[in-house]
């Protein structure tokens, strides 16, 4: 094993940190988060500098690197700011489906503008009341001449009403048994007739990635909008979820690290009872615990991303990394809020939104219980 970051990896980290330092403005982030207003201008700059789609091939304007580098970036951005970092790195949400499974035409059309930060993409997988069993969806896509006709309703769609295209999980063969074999991914543009988006409530965390409910009513799209093979939608979605969980693990590490940084700064400055907070043994032990949790989550996440890049696409590991990193983030951000005391609760001291964003990372794409179901399936395998 060799834990040394390559020269280009170090450069990516450094460039990302400098970008975030230059572009991420605390006051502005607080302001736009309140309004759930995504900063398209910053996304464009990030796209221009190559931070979006770093794990996409150069042929579609991507960085030609892997998920490992995506994780380094996500970690760095979220460390600087959890909410904006999450939003920027989510801006190409689900475009991985086009990248990994789409045909040449789809890739050429949709990937470059996403990678350049001009378009926001999203995935519409979830339906109300379906829990995490996505075989239970009701959205259908029927073939009609050379078109797909889509009907159904998706909920909790990230960026919902502002996304420039949706990757929609549909039933294309409602009679398939098991149902998982009758599902496909279809790309839908929001300006197609019959698409409507309704914003849903504010979010607990991740407030720059607002949710919407998307309704498809006799929406016609050309057959060429099918992503990958017909009937492969379930497997493709599962693989995307695996990839996305590793990405979220990267967010979580950054969120934890950012909250840790702020707490450390604070306790080194703040005096109480005639001593610096950092001189109290209990404060010291908290910091030690926080730092240890971050390091353990970090190397598990790096390992998991490395495996993905090396063709070991392992949903067990992805769930472990996501669960472990999000848990670390929750514990570290909670302790950061506590260490800052009353200030920790105040918006302007930032750690409060790191805390909420950590919870967002922990629930989004599956609560710990869901991750454990996935992990256990693979650990236990088939019983005799």
């Amino acid at each position: 094993m060799d834990f040394k970051l390559s020269k280009s990896q170090k450069e990516i980290q450094k460039a990302a940190w400098e970008f975030a330092r230059g572009e991420f403005d605390k006051e502005q982030i607080i302001e736009i988060s309140k309004k759930q207003e995504f900063p398209k201008n910053i996304l464009k700059k990030a796209g221009e500098l190559g931070f979006i789609g770093i794990h996409y091939p150069e042929s579609v304007d991507g960085g030609g690197m892997g998920l490992f580098e995506y994780v380094l970036l996500a970690e760095t951005f979220c460390r600087k700011d959890s909410t904006l970092g999450t939003a920027l790195m989510f801006s190409a949400y689900a475009t991985e489906c086009v990248l990994r499974f789409g045909d040449k035409d789809l890739k050429e059309k949709f990937l470059p503008p996403v990678v350049d930060g001009q378009l926001i993409s999203t995935g519409a997988f979830t339906e109300a009341g379906q829990g995490y069993d996505i075989t239970q969806i009701h959205t259908t896509a029927a073939k009609e001449n050379d078109q797909w006709v889509i009907n159904g309703k998706k909920t909790l769609v990230p960026f919902g009403s502002m996304a420039d295209f949706y990757v929609v999980l549909c039933k294309t063969d409602p009679a398939a048994d098991p149902p998982a074999k009758g599902m496909s991914l279809i790309l839908v543009e929001p300006d197609r007739a019959g698409v409507s988006a309704g914003d849903i409530s504010e979010k607990l965390g991740g407030r720059l990635v607002p949710f919407a409910e998307i309704t498809f009513k006799n929406v016609h799209v050309p057959q060429s909008n099918l992503i990958g093979k017909e009937g492969n939608g379930y497997a493709q979605t599962q693989q995307f979820l695996t990839e996305n969980r590793i990405q979220i693990a990267g967010f979580a590490i950054g969120i934890a690290q950012g909250a840790f940084d702020r707490a450390l700064d604070y306790v080194k400055q703040r005096e109480q009872f005639g001593k610096k907070l950092a001189q109290f043994q209990v404060t010291r032990h908290k910091l030690a615990d926080m730092a240890s949790k971050i390091e353990a989550a970090r190397y598990l996440t790096y390992y998991t991303a490395w495996c993905f890049d090396n063709k070991k696409i392992d949903s067990q590991l992805a769930s472990m990394a996501k669960m472990t990193a999000a848990k670390a983030a929750m514990e570290v951000t909670d302790e950061a809020v506590q260490l800052l005391g009353g200030y920790g609760y105040m918006t302007e001291y930032e750690v409060e939104h790191f805390y909420r964003d950590a919870k967002h990372a922990e629930i989004f794409q599956g609560t710990p219980a869901i991750q454990k179901d996935i992990i256990a399936d693979i650990i236990i395998g088939k019983l005799k």
Binding site: I30, T126, G129, Q130, G131, Y132, D133, T135, Q136, L156, I200, S201, E202, K203, L204, G205, G206, F211, E271, Q272, F273, V282, M330, D334, V337, Q338, G341, G342, G344, Y345, M346, T347, E348, E352, H353, Y355, R356, K359, H360, E362, I363, F364, T367, P368, A369, I370, K372
Partner: protein, 381 residues
């Protein structure tokens, strides 16, 4: 077996409070949360109904109720899932300063208004550079003839915007021993030199008007000193006990409420196979584990309420209850949110607000670390 002996009168009172809150308060909560303030009329409504400062003797306009009436209101208010109408703070934390330490004149002047809701109170202890460490206080109060001049700034003041009367802790600069320098002063709304700063944006407690207060050569009459000069610390220490206990009582009720919502959600929502999610073993265990800790806390806090009401020395137990229950609130909010799944990501889920709101309980009224320090000290460690 019940540890606390609620009488029929208590029980009827609880039912009346419950009904009042459901009809008069809960319907407005969403609006107050959005507006980041509770209108003063809501306070008056509470007062008119007889639900503010129930313990105030009849001669000052109160109902002279025992401590259990305060407990009932605190518990029922917790069920409104909002923090703005901070009656617990007003009724059981701040107004008792006036009743315990005020002169007869002060009591006559202020208590009836506190009971009716015409006077909303705040207490101003914390300063930007001195959180739980009261000795680090820098606000000053100098005697100038028949007047006292207050200078300094305070922060994190709950009811800061709405307050008609503020009890301010400040130091006499002439006194060297910081513990003997602090006195408490009553400052009324409108006194020249007393200004409210901005309302602070927070993780939660949206409907609660937490603010900074500024005192700049703020002159008050000498008779507005509250209690003995130099006894500020002692008074604060004495009253902090009940503050922490009330905080634990509210926290306990909140934990019970969150679990109630969650059990209800799990029983009425089904998984993809159509089975209520409360049938999943992992969810069952989560609920049982939470219910167990809540029940244990309930036994502990009920015993503590009885002891507090009987005037027993419960410094150690109060510190323990405050820290443990407010930590429990965090754990319950977190685990319940997980049971709500994706719905927990949105503010439509009541647990989302609960999680944001309750997070401050382990910080205010003395951080939980301060609680542990106090317990250790009084346990003789």
């Amino acid at each position: 077996m019940e540890i606390l002996q609620y009488t029929d009168a208590h029980k009827e009172f609880r039912q009346a409070v419950k009904k009042f809150l459901e009809n008069e308060i809960t319907p407005h909560v969403e609006e107050w949360e959005k507006n980041h303030i509770v209108p003063k009329e809501a306070w008056q409504k509470m007062g008119k109904a007889g639900y503010l400062c129930t313990w105030v003797p009849e001669k000052y306009g109160g109902m002279g109720g025992d401590f259990l009436y305060s407990v009932i209101i605190a518990e029922e208010m917790a069920r409104t899932n909002h923090s703005g109408l901070a009656t617990l703070l007003h009724s059981d934390i701040i107004v008792p300063y006036i009743a315990s330490f005020g002169t007869e004149e002060q009591k006559k002047k202020y208590l009836p208004g506190c009971v009716s809701g015409d006077i909303i109170t705040a207490v101003a202890m914390t300063e930007p550079d001195a959180g739980s460490d009261l000795a680090g206080m820098t606000a000053t109060a100098e005697i100038d003839g028949d007047e006292i001049i207050i200078n300094g700034s305070k922060t994190f003041i709950s009811n800061g915007i709405n307050a008609d009367l503020v009890i301010v802790a400040a130091k006499n600069p002439a006194e060297e021993n910081p513990y003997q320098a602090v006195s408490l002063y009553i400052v009324e709304d409108g006194t020249p030199g007393f200004k409210r700063g901005r309302q602070l944006d927070k993780m939660g407690f949206y409907s609660q008007d937490t603010a900074e207060l500024f005192f700049s050569n703020c002159r008050i009459p000498k008779e507005n000193i509250l209690g003995e000069p130099g006894m500020g610390f002692m008074m604060l220490m004495e009253k902090l006990q009940q503050e922490r206990l009330m905080c634990a009582i509210g926290g306990q009720a909140a934990a019970e409420l969150m679990l109630e919502w969650t059990i209800d959600f799990c029983k009425t929502n089904t998984d993809a196979a159509g089975k209520p999610i409360s049938k999943q073993q992992a969810n069952q265990f989560a609920i049982v584990e939470m219910a167990t800790e809540i029940k244990m806390c309930r036994a502990f806090i009920d015993k503590l309420i009885a002891e507090h009401a009987a005037g027993e020395n419960v410094v150690v137990e109060t510190s323990m209850a405050k820290y443990w229950i407010t930590d429990l609130d965090k754990r319950i909010a977190d685990r319940c949110l997980d049971l709500f799944g994706d719905f927990g990501l949105t503010e439509d889920c009541p647990l989302a607000r609960a999680m944001r709101d309750l997070r401050v309980l382990s910080i205010f009224a003395g951080t939980n670390e301060v609680m542990k320090g106090i317990a250790a000290k009084f346990m003789g460690l």
